[in-house]
């Protein structure tokens, strides 16, 4: 059974600081997704990482993928209040379960002024 684990689950940080969210998964998947969810809202796609060593950046967020370590990171640079949300990573295990996504528990990020 595919397992996806995120840490930390809760993160409170000050504006202007840097931090990293980690996503570990138990399969050899080569496709990893990051989503953002605001309270009471649906999921917004942030990044899709397709191969080992992939790195993508959008604004203050940068995501990377290491398929050998089965690890993805979401790095936050100089956090601002608008980044407060819950961030999910999700993995597709194409070999065993096709395109269905298995999600981590989410990291609830709060950026304080």
């Amino acid at each position: 059974e595919l397992k996806v684990e995120q840490n930390p689950l809760f993160l409170s940080m000050q504006e202007g600081k840097n931090y990293t969210i980690y996503c570990n998964y138990s399969t050899t998947s080569d496709r990893l997704y990051w989503y953002r969810q605001d309270p009471g809202k649906s999921l917004e796609s942030l990044f899709v990482l397709l191969s080992n060593g992939a790195v993508k950046q959008e604004g203050r967020l940068m995501a990377s993928l290491d398929t050998k370590a089965r690890l993805s990171t979401l790095h936050i640079t100089a956090a601002v209040h608008d980044l407060s949300a819950t961030y999910f990573c999700a993995v597709a295990d194409w070999e065993t379960s096709g395109s269905r996504l298995t999600f981590g528990e989410g990291t609830q990020l709060t950026v304080n002024p």
Partner: protein
Amino acid sequence: GAGVSQTPSNKVTEKGKYVELRCDPISGHTALYWYRQSLGQGPEFLIYFQGTGAADDSGLPNDRFFAVRPEGSVSTLKIQRTERGDSAVYLCASSLTGFRLAGEDTQYFGPGTRLTVL
């Protein structure tokens, strides 16, 4: 363009009743997914359609849950004899193909239907 839409946005029902939740995917997307999200958790997979057929229904919790997509576009998730444990947000997502070789094939999520079973 229009995203994934879901109706109703909220549904309150009594234990034992039947409910239908509707999903209208992005136009042209052949793959459609249903997930369920409980409070404080990540979404959990229920069922995946490729066109009109259910390609993977292994996430449906029991035979009270059923979904259809008769014309390969709109999908309806049907729950019979609802139980309090069915209360959750039901999310629908669609992607262009659902195939591995299709590149990113991002799944785009709708706003969800919040189901409350009293």
